[in-house]
Amino acid sequence: MAELDTGFFVRWLTETAAAVDREADRLTELDSAIGDADHGSNLRRGFTAVTAALAEKPPPSPGAALGLAGRTLVSKVGGASGPLYGTLLRRTGKELGDAATVSRDDLARAMAAGVEAVTALGGAAEGDKTMLDALLPAVRALPESFTAARRAAAEGAVGTVPLRARRGRASYLGDRSIGHEDPGAASSLLLVSALERTWEAADE
């Protein structure tokens, strides 16, 4: 299996940005049902800035690419998702160090640390109806394959529908949060799907 180079990470982030841009209205719609109707525009603003930052300052390594993306999200998004996604990418990047290429297993380990940092920062656990419900299964499946990770994320995202939210804004709704997909889980799926697509494109 091929190693993942800096270009791969830049393409992944760019692909994520494109997906977020396409799906922003849907994310906002989801956030409108159980939140405050800004998740799509938050992430669009953030990932647009990420694309610009990557173009302006081409990163020297996979870790640097994720670090730059994470810092950009923190300084452009705000809200809950800015620090959380920012931390996810920064921490994952930090774990990758300055290696020029990394394996999928390296990435899986690093992302596990990244997701762990999100858990520590936000205090949420699996089943609380947050982005973690897509991210945790995804990083668990990542050692198997990119496709397995995407499938796990997709299942996790859909799996948030019947849950009662216990973290974030949706938790204020109590039982009324049941029956809606969590917007952060939906956007996490976009991130993991973009990873799969980037891999498949590289693999061709």
Binding site: D36, G78, G82, S171
Partner: protein, 333 residues
């Protein structure tokens, strides 16, 4: 939904430009998204910095000035500001006496302000934080992100701002702010949804003849939907929720009361609602020392209202009456 805007992504910057034009007594940094007292940093004075998502105006930028906030940093609509903003606001206002961040309890606000606090401390700024979590509609806080910060923010900013203006040191201002935050309870009711620029339409559907009880200030639906009620009935539900949370019948200490509009409810109706709130409070044996009626902690164009009670004492009354000079709250100067 029609809005008086240019484009959703320009709303906050445009508002700051407009605020700059209307308020030469403030320093408005459109680029870095902050509103600062013109005389900041005020020598020897603890600086109060607050902020949060936009869409709650006049909160917070409308409360920047003598006797209240030193700086406010507005995020995008309903989106907490990024750490850089709050960090810049802190360094722009710190006179060396330290900075108190007033933070409404939302995951995003807490995370971003905590990051700002770390940045500020790295720069040698003495920083403290008070969390406002006054919304009694959020009951089971173990299974939620905790109580939301809403109308109580105004009392924390006014009273701690007065203490800071009078020269109290950081620890005192922080302790006072915490005491005020603990003394505040709020409860909100929506008669209609609001429309955010990003969404371009209403954030929820509220059928004719129904209202939402226990709403927040971000267009999120409430805890419960009920058949429409009269102002008298809404006042009863609201006041009783507040008093119950305060632990039963009032203690005899006087209250500060805020009868707040969510944005689209006419002042005529708000005053009428205040009449009912005061009636219910009196019937329950509560004494109200000061009342503020108006649109202070809003949710864009939401129709509805909230009531905040702050249990006060002589000191807090004196701090309330102390001079304040901001865009939205001004007296004694």
């Amino acid at each position: 939904m029609k809005m008086l805007i240019n484009a959703p992504e320009r709303v906050v910057a445009d508002a700051l430009r407009g605020m700059a034009a209307a308020h030469p007594e403030l320093v408005v940094d459109v680029e870095n998204r902050m509103v600062v007292r013109r005389d900041a940093p005020v020598s020897g004075k603890v600086a109060l910095v607050s902020g949060g998502g936009s869409g709650h105006e006049p909160l917070h930028a409308g409360f920047v000035g003598h006797g209240m906030l030193d700086a406010a940093c507005p995020g995008e609509v309903f989106t907490s500001p990024v750490p850089d903003q709050a960090f810049r606001a802190a360094t722009a206002t710190d006179s060396g006496a330290g900075v108190l961040f007033v933070v409404k309890n939302y995951t995003g606000d807490v995370l971003n302000f905590d990051m700002a606090m770390e940045l500020a401390e790295d720069e040698g700024v003495r920083a403290a934080r008070v969390l406002v979590e006054d919304d009694v509609a959020v009951t089971d806080s173990l299974f939620t992100a905790g109580r939301r910060g809403t109308g109580g923010t105004l009392f924390v900013e006014k009273l701690a701002g007065a203490a800071a203006e009078q020269g109290a040191p950081l620890e005192t201002v922080e302790a006072l702010a915490r005491r005020v935050a603990e003394a505040c309870r709020s409860y909100g009711v929506a008669l209609g949804p609001c429309s955010t620029p990003a969404k371009g339409g209403p954030t929820f559907d509220l059928p004719t003849g129904e209202l939402e009880l226990g709403i927040g200030i971000h267009g999120e639906p409430g805890r419960e939907r009920r058949a429409m009620m009269t102002a008298a009935e809404i006042a009863e539900v609201t006041v009783d929720a507040l008093l119950e949370d305060l632990g039963g019948p009032p203690t005899g200490r006087p209250f500060l009361a805020l009868v707040n509009g969510m944005g689209a409810t006419p002042l005529l109706e708000l005053y009428g609602f205040n009449a009912e709130v005061q009636r219910v409070l009196a019937e329950r044996g509560a004494v109200v020392a000061r009342t503020l009626v108006g649109n202070y902690v809003t949710s864009l164009d939401m129709a509805g209202c909230s009531v905040t009670l702050c249990e006060a004492d002589e000191e807090l009354l004196r701090l309330w009456d102390a001079p304040v000079s901001t865009a939205a709250l001004r007296w004694g100067r």
